[in-house]
């Protein structure tokens, strides 16, 4: 059992006031808050350790490099990767997907097919549109069923020997759907396709084991898992990453540079050109430790309790409709109230200290599917409580009263 009030104490922002009332933060799908250990790690880095990494022979450079690489080790362990060099640091999930989609420009040809789904975040749509535009490959889309789950029957029909890559979210940021990625991976592998999983909404909510899962590529963002902004991870199997050409050119990613011929460094450096977000990467380790300290299974279980409770409470609101009612869901609830615009709801509950997200959540195809301009979205993290859900529901009811 998690001690939530102890956990809350580790997050300084949770005791701040917003509009003179206590902050109730339910915008965790956009970004989570940070525990003191993560904040301290950034602080200590700049106060005591700051130096550029790799290549330097002086003390601080060695220190920063060691700590930077310790985070790589921590991530390897956290996601059960086979090799340390399978962990690539990026700016975030978007950067990671673009790195891969750019690499697939040299692996795809006209006639090849890439499969994504209707519930993807724009970050897992646009790069593939650009890649297919470029290569002449065709983009196929797994449709959504009305409950917000993927139409797996159609998926299987879409698969063929032309399928070269399937890229889908582990968890939908707009609907909360947990996709059956094991099934997707095994089916895709049967036809020889590679699989990339966008784990932005999964990595601090669902236990991960890359070797068991068997995905060729998996990525996530630190800022959505209690870590700093500007850091992401691309995991790829040794084999897959070696098959991808380098993305950005620059320092650190080369073996030798001359104007005649440049040769590239090995993994992971091949994909890490330029000075990285050193402070962010180092502090990310503390976020991982925060998560593993609680146990991802425990977090998942607690968040599911919150999800069930919040769902039940929201359904009591007259005229409410929840988008995304699949059997396997993570702690995300998207909803609308008949006759009200989500923007108006968001504006009013904000005045009562409640932070929810409203809009299309960078998933316009989902909005089109459900024929709404946007939704209001509650997304939970481990520090949220049932009491906060009550405050939130009260605020929504008040907004509804004011707006009707």
């Amino acid at each position: 059992m998690l001690n939530i009030s102890e956990i809350r104490k580790q997050f300084p922002i949770l005791s701040r006031k917003v509009n003179k009332t206590d902050l109730v933060y339910f915008d965790n799908g956009a970004t989570t808050q940070k525990p003191q250990t993560v904040i301290d790690a950034v602080n200590n880095y700049y106060k005591d350790e700051n130096s550029n990494v790799h290549r330097g022979v002086h003390f601080l450079s060695g220190l920063a490099t060691d700590k930077f690489e310790e985070t790589r080790d921590a991530i390897q362990q956290f996601i059960g990767a086979k090799h340390k060099h399978e962990i690539i640091f990026t700016k975030g999930t978007t950067d990671a997907i673009n790195l891969v989609a750019n690499g697939f420009r040299s692996l795809l040809n006209k006639g090849d097919e890439v499969i994504i789904s209707e519930l993807e975040h724009h970050s897992n749509i646009v790069p593939w549109q650009m890649c297919c535009d470029f290569t002449g490959a065709t983009l196929k889309v797994i449709p959504l069923l009305d409950d917000g789950s993927l139409d797996m029957i159609t998926f299987k029909k879409l698969l063929s020997e032309n399928t070269k890559l399937v890229s889908v979210a582990h968890v939908s940021n707009a609907l909360g759907t947990i996709n059956p990625i094991e099934e997707i991976i095994s089916n895709a592998h049967k036809v020889g396709a590679k699989v990339m999983i966008d784990g932005a909404q999964a990595a601090s909510h669902i236990p991960l084991d890359m070797q068991k899962l068997g995905a060729d590529l998996y990525c996530f963002s630190a800022h959505k898992m209690y870590g700093p902004t500007g850091v992401g991870v691309l995991y790829g199997t040794d084999k897959m990453l070696n098959a991808l050409p380098p993305y950005q050119g620059g320092g650190e990613m080369i073996k030798e540079v001359s104007f005649e011929k440049t040769t590239y460094a090995c993994l992971p450096h091949k994909f890490e050109a330029g000075t990285p977000n050193i402070a962010g990467v180092i502090a990310f380790k503390n976020a991982i430790e925060f998560i593993t300290g609680l146990g991802v299974e425990n977090i998942a279980k607690y968040e599911d309790e919150l999800l069930q409770y919040a769902t039940a409470e929201i359904l009591k609101i007259e005229g409410v409709k929840i988008y995304g009612t699949a059997k396997h869901k993570s702690g995300i609830i998207s909803f609308n109230i008949e006759g009200l615009h989500p923007y108006d709801i968001g504006m009013i509950v904000d005045k009562m200290g409640v932070a929810i997200r409203t809009g299309h959540h960078c998933t316009q195809p989902i909005m089109n599917k459900f024929n709404v301009p946007g939704t209001a979205r509650i997304s939970v993290a481990v520090y949220n409580t049932k009491e906060e859900i009550d405050v939130c529901i009260n605020a929504i009811n008040k907004a509804k009263m004011m707006l009707s």
Partner: protein, 138 residues
């Protein structure tokens, strides 16, 4: 016709009566509900100003040397703010509109709503209102 400056003064006075955000928001909601509807034929893609969340339609006509604005939005709070902006600028001359300093925005505590970084389309709407005025000013 009152001047833009006069109207701004009245609005500041109106808002001065509110004790808290709730009264202010309720007033905005009322204004939004009362906003004269835009003619359906002007609710076109061309007249659409896209913010990230609420959509705003703006139409302008030049009548007797004055500019008449009509507008709409799918969000009621946005509509309320539009109603205020229209009450200040609609019916004024192109020159006075292009010159107008909308300093009442700060004073009635709507600065946040009208910050250029907010994703509600209102800043683009003010810009568009002035562009119409500029066009008719030539």
């Amino acid at each position: 016709m009152e001047t833009i400056q006069d109207i701004q003064g009245e609005i500041i006075e109106d808002f001065g009566m509110f004790d808290d955000w709730m009264q202010k928001y309720e007033y905005l909601i009322d204004l939004g509900k009362e906003l004269a509807p835009i003619d359906k034929k002007h609710k076109t893609e061309d007249n659409l100003i896209k913010g990230c969340q609420s959509r705003v339609w703006l139409h302008a006509e030049h009548i007797d040397g004055k500019i008449i604005y009509t507008a709409d939005s799918d969000a009621i709070m946005t509509k309320g703010i539009i109603a205020i902006l229209i009450s200040v600028l609609s019916g004024q001359t192109p020159a006075s509109i292009t010159d107008a300093k909308l300093d009442f925005i700060n004073e009635i505590g709507l600065k946040e709503q009208l910050s250029p970084t907010r994703a509600n389309g209102l800043v683009s709407m003010i810009k568009q209102m002035k562009i119409y005025a500029l066009a008719y000013n030539n």
